[in-house]
């Protein structure tokens, strides 16, 4: 962290404490003290089939033996610098060395027990940054998106991959918004320019769509590449290889990433701290300005007070039991179990049917794979169901928040209050004792994927506190399924082949029934709690806002009763404090501008505009 940023953090903390907001001050200091990661991590994300893996191969200059035969990437692949080696890391974090050429195949197998694959290769790019190839969003395993989102919270930069075959889709835009919630550096890459003659048109269409529908990213750089062309260079002599890398656009992407990310890894950390500080300062300024507006002599104080009083009445009204938002909440919550049950019922039948079919023709060699595959499917199902639920709840809460007050402010408050629940939950299940990195966490969630959407909800949406009620059960369920499945699977190995089919189907029935029951009943139990906590939460926000206004009005009234001289002194003090807040805020904005000129405009103006 640079001295300038350190100094600013101290100033901001002082201002916040003067305002009686010590918790926020401490949080900011903690964030500032956390060390920046050694090598910046670039996550390559995007919809499934857009060519992420080929892009990463081209970028690091490493090609798997046969690319066409590989299926979609199912677990994250972490590329780091080192002599050629690969390992599969299981859920418990234990690595197992594997032949380099098998590593990629393992990463495409959803039934594998590896929860991430780590590949080390000698590559100039990797000396400066580490690259993570992620499972794609939007495919049939929709839980993957949430899974990726969870791991992203600490990423230093995002490469968002689209391809030249078709314009950006609505689901991709949505994923982009979620993925980049906390990341400042986003680079767009259009792949497959070797296939599509119209790639330039597609790219400019995409840019237009982004500018219109996600303006926060309007200034992000775009690079068009042909990964295939670059990879062909690997078979050629070095000179030709360099020329192909140049022509393919991969070289341009590389230098862009190095310039934007690697040389600025410390800066990125500063930037994150500064953005957090800026948010707090905006809030402090707003409160002060409001209070001054209410008490000031010039202008129309009565009007301002009147407005505030009206606001307070409205908030009180909303906090009362007969408010409509509570009914909305309740009605919508009542619909959820039925929806869930419907999905669960349909999907489990599909899964069972599929495995029954498979069982009829299974070869002895494939038997071993069936139990873990079933567990993976059921776990994924749990993830999907929870994901669907969470999306619904999230939309619901958002819609209510919109009705209540300035949504940005409320979301901000919620975010501040609900910061670290995920780690608490992980602590509770003894997984984060050894100091989990974001990748470890990703691994856990890719194996026990049922928990991932909750985690995404907690960290991504800023609704941590309210979602925490739901986090524990799905993780528990997933682990139950995963380990139960694993042990059962082990026991199969000791049995005679002839009775495999029989054993498997009865075991499968148990697993399916168990999954169905757990998914249904755990939700019925937890939804009450979740609903209560959302309601309490919204009320807290209302109350906090209301008391804020009350304080302002009270202070203004007290001011009015005081002697003119005292009044003037206090007004002067407040003006002084406001000036200080504004000065610090300007300083923060200026610092942001110096560390990240291109990102400055939107950061300084506060929240992203597309919300």
């Amino acid at each position: 962290m640079s001295d300038a940023v350190g100094e600013l953090v101290t100033r901001v903390a002082t201002v916040l404490r003067a305002d009686g907001r010590g918790v926020a001050a401490t949080q900011l200091e903690v964030l500032a003290r956390r060390p920046a990661s050694d090598v910046p991590v670039v996550f390559v994300v995007g919809e499934t089939g857009r060519g992420k893996s080929a892009l990463v191969d081209a970028l690091v200059g490493h090609r798997p033996s046969s690319h066409a035969a590989l299926g979609p990437t199912a677990v994250p692949i972490v590329y780091a610098h080192g002599s050629a080696a690969a390992e599969l890391v299981d859920a418990a974090g234990a690595p197992r060395a594997v032949a380099l050429e098998l590593a990629r195949v393992a990463a495409t197998d959803a039934g594998t027990f590896a929860s991430r694959v780590k590949i080390s290769v000698e590559s100039p790019v990797l000396e400066h940054l580490s690259v993570v190839d992620t499972p794609g969003a939007g495919g049939l395993d929709s839980g993957q998106a949430a899974l990726t989102l969870q791991a992203l919270s600490d990423a230093d930069a995002l490469v968002f991959v689209v391809d030249a075959s078709a314009p950006l889709r609505a689901s991709e835009l949505q994923f982009l918004r979620k993925a980049s919630a906390r990341i400042d550096t986003v680079v767009f890459v259009v792949t497959k320019t070797d296939l599509h003659r119209g790639w330039q048109t597609i790219m400019s269409d995409d840019q237009r769509i982004v500018a219109q529908q996600a303006p926060r990213f309007a200034d992000c750089p775009w690079v068009a590449v042909s990964s295939q062309l670059c990879l062909e260079g690997l078979d050629e002599d070095p000179e030709e290889a360099t020329a192909l890398r140049e022509e393919s656009g991969i070289a341009a992407l590389e230098s862009l990433l190095l310039a934007r990310v690697s040389e600025r890894s410390a800066t990125l950390h500063d930037l994150n701290v500064l953005r957090a500080a800026l948010g707090q300062l905006n809030l402090a300024e707003r409160m002060l300005a409001q209070r001054m507006g209410a008490g000031t002599d010039d202008g129309a104080p009565a009007d301002a007070q009147h407005r505030l009083a009206a606001d307070r009445e409205r908030l009180k009204e909303l906090a009362r039991d007969r408010s409509t938002w509570m009914q909305t909440l309740e009605t919508e919550f009542r619909k959820l179990p039925a929806e869930r049950q419907q999905i669960i019922g349909r999907r489990t039948i599909e899964i069972r049917r599929r495995y029954e079919e498979q069982l009829k023709q299974v070869k002895p060699a494939d038997e071993d794979a069936m139990a873990p595959a079933l567990v993976a499917d059921l776990t994924a199902l749990a993830g999907q169901v929870n994901e669907a639920t969470i999306t619904r709840v999230e939309m619901l809460v958002r819609s209510i928040l919109k009705d209540l007050d300035d949504p940005g402010q409320l979301e901000h408050d919620i975010r501040e209050l609900g910061a670290t629940t995920l780690d608490d939950q992980l602590d509770a299940i003894h997984l984060s004792r050894s100091g989990l990195s974001h990748l470890d966490r990703l691994s856990i969630f890719s194996t026990f994927s049922a928990g991932r959407s909750m985690a995404g909800f907690a960290s991504g949406s800023g609704l941590g506190v309210t979602a925490s009620a739901l986090i524990a059960p799905p993780i528990g369920l997933a682990i139950g399924l995963g380990l139960g499945g694993f042990f059962a699977f082990q026991s199969f190995r000791n049995r005679r082949r002839e009775i495999f089919a029989h054993e498997f189907s009865s075991w499968m029935r148990d697993q399916v029934v168990y999954a169905q029951q757990t998914l249904t009943t755990s939700f019925a139990r937890d939804s009450v709690e979740l609903q209560t906590s959302i309601r309490g939460y919204l009320r807290d926000i209302l109350a906090a806002r209301e008391s804020e206004i009350t304080t302002v009005i009270g202070a203004a009234e007290a001011d009015a009763r005081k002697a003119a001289a005292t009044r003037q002194t206090e007004a002067a003090q407040m003006r002084h404090r406001l000036q200080e807040v504004r000065a610090v805020r300007q300083r923060a904005a200026a610092l942001i501008a110096t560390v990240a000129p291109t990102d400055a405009a939107r950061s300084a103006s506060g929240r992203p505009t597309e919300r």
């Binding site: 689901s171 003659r197 529908q213 295939q228």
Partner: protein, 487 residues
């Protein structure tokens, strides 16, 4: 089963209903009757830029639907058989106006009204391909422009009430990856009118095979393999998955490759093979390269054929193909379009009357529930629909429904029964349906039918769930009808 008999029986029911309801439902019933007389409606759905319009053009053998690089199909477009050639634009306010085709025979780029105000376009062409099915080109699924996607949903039958403008069958366009919202769109189609969409009336077409592989091996081999994988995943949703090189098929089938293009290709073929391979690696190289034909010609060729088409065309010239007609023939052959046509004919055109009657019966049942569905006329209507469904003429409808129940995994059936029923319910000669060699004697056929009857009778009495029993009754009936026809 004579198709006309089935249609007439349904038409009779419509006029009886009209009389019984005193003309209250006249407009809806007329629309349904019209629907019975028209070819089955096949909706082409898929994500944005999946190649929907390209496939429609290829099937028509005529470039009518615009297929620009950018998102262009914004309106649901129906292609009907009809003369004189014309285009009707139906607006959301109910008014209809006429639109002129562009001089090149394509739909115009601009409609003169905001897209949001347009309900649908109806193109009438004297095109033989449209005699057996009405094609419906739809806006893409999952578009960033939400309204386009909504238009497709409406077509697939999510609008409330009685919708006479829904499709009878679907062609789902798949690309090199399968996305959740595509599967969801199929689900939507499946849930239309309750239960009418499934593998029984949907097929998948794997388009843009040029995206497959790494551009060096035979893309079609990869495509066939991928199509099989998709069928595994989607087997409750589509009856078949067929690969096609859409753009190549369009260019070949619509005769867009001209004599001058053939000459350009021949000139190109004289280039040094290594250099030719090199410039074919990317479109940018191909256009920018030094080559014996000019830039405009190269741009045109790539636009017409893509890399895979260019490779095929050059290979055809190597194998002594001369002139545009021969090259087109060769391209059509390699594109796989014949398989798509065959599949559509097999699945939809020959089953056309069953699909339509089924849609109409479903619509009638929905009508019978409008406003609570308690009136005497509505109850009678439901009884009448039930009766007609029991008539031997309507048995194919029952088979279709049974097949749907199997496809949607509502009914568990014994080992191997799925294959048995796929054939039994399918089109084909009697021996084929009984899985006998085509020369099987009548006695052998009757024995096979009797065997089927006894097996399914056993299944019916030993399996108590109502769904299974209903299925078994339908199968039993199928064998009975075959047996009776052989007496």
């Amino acid at each position: 089963m004579p198709a006309s008999e089935l249609i007439e029986r349904a038409a009779d029911l419509l006029s009886q209903t009209d009389a019984a309801t005193g003309g209250a439902l006249h407009d809806e019933l007329v629309a349904l009757e019209r629907r019975l007389r028209e070819p089955a409606r096949v909706a082409v759905i898929g994500r944005v830029k999946a190649g929907k319009s390209t496939l429609v053009n290829a099937l028509l053998g005529q470039r009518v639907a615009p297929t620009a690089v950018s998102e262009c199909t914004q309106v649901v477009t129906w292609f009907h058989y009809g003369q004189p050639q014309r285009v009707e634009m139906r607006l959301r306010d109910g008014s209809v106006s006429e639109v002129q085709l562009a001089p090149d025979g394509m739909l115009p780029r601009e409609l003169g009204v905001p897209v949001a105000a347009v309900d649908s376009l109806h193109v009438y062409l004297a095109n033989d391909a449209l005699r057996s099915m009405t094609l419906i080109d739809t806006p893409g699924i999952g578009s960033a422009h939400v309204s386009y996607s909504d238009a497709t949903k409406g077509l697939l039958g999510t609008s409330p009430g009685v919708d006479t403008d829904t499709a009878d069958a679907t062609v789902l366009l798949l690309n090199h990856t399968l996305l959740q919202d595509e599967v969801d769109a199929l689900e939507l189609f499946r849930s239309q009118a309750g239960e009418s969409g499934s593998a029984a009336n949907a097929v998948g077409v794997l388009t843009r095979v040029d995206q497959l592989g790494d551009g060096r091996g035979d893309v079609f081999e990869v495509a066939v393999e991928l199509a099989d994988q998709y069928l595994d995943v989607l087997d409750t949703a589509v009856a078949a998955v067929v690969p096609v090189a859409g753009l190549v098929a369009e260019t070949a089938e619509t005769a867009s490759l001209l004599e001058s293009d053939a000459r350009d290709l021949a000139t190109l073929a004289t280039m040094d093979p290594t250099e030719l391979r090199r410039i074919l690696r990317t479109p940018d190289r191909f256009v920018a390269a030094t080559a014996p034909i000019d830039t405009a010609a190269r741009e045109r060729l790539w636009t017409l054929l893509d890399r895979v088409g260019l490779q095929w065309a050059l290979a055809a010239i190597d194998e002594q193909a001369h002139g545009a007609a021969q090259i087109r023939k060769e391209l059509a052959l390699r594109s796989g379009i014949a398989d798509v046509k065959r599949t559509l004919t097999q699945r939809f055109a020959t089953q056309d009357h069953v699909l339509k009657v089924r849609s109409v019966l479903d619509a009638l049942v929905r009508l019978s529930y409008v406003d609570g569905g308690t009136s005497a006329a509505q109850q009678e209507l439901r009884t009448a629909v039930e009766e007609i469904r029991l008539d031997p003429v309507m048995h194919p409808v029952a088979e279709l429904e049974a097949w749907h129940a199997i496809c949607s995994a509502r009914v568990a059936i014994p080992d191997g029964a799925r294959d048995e029923l796929r054939v039994l319910f399918g089109p084909g000669s009697t021996p084929m349906r009984l899985r006998l060699p085509s020369g099987a004697s009548t006695d052998e056929q009757r024995a096979a039918a009797r065997d089927g009857m006894s097996r399914w009778r056993t299944f019916m009495v030993t399996n108590a769930t109502p769904d299974e029993a209903r299925l078994a009754r339908t199968v039993l009936r199928s064998y009975q009808l075959i047996w009776e026809s052989l007496v």
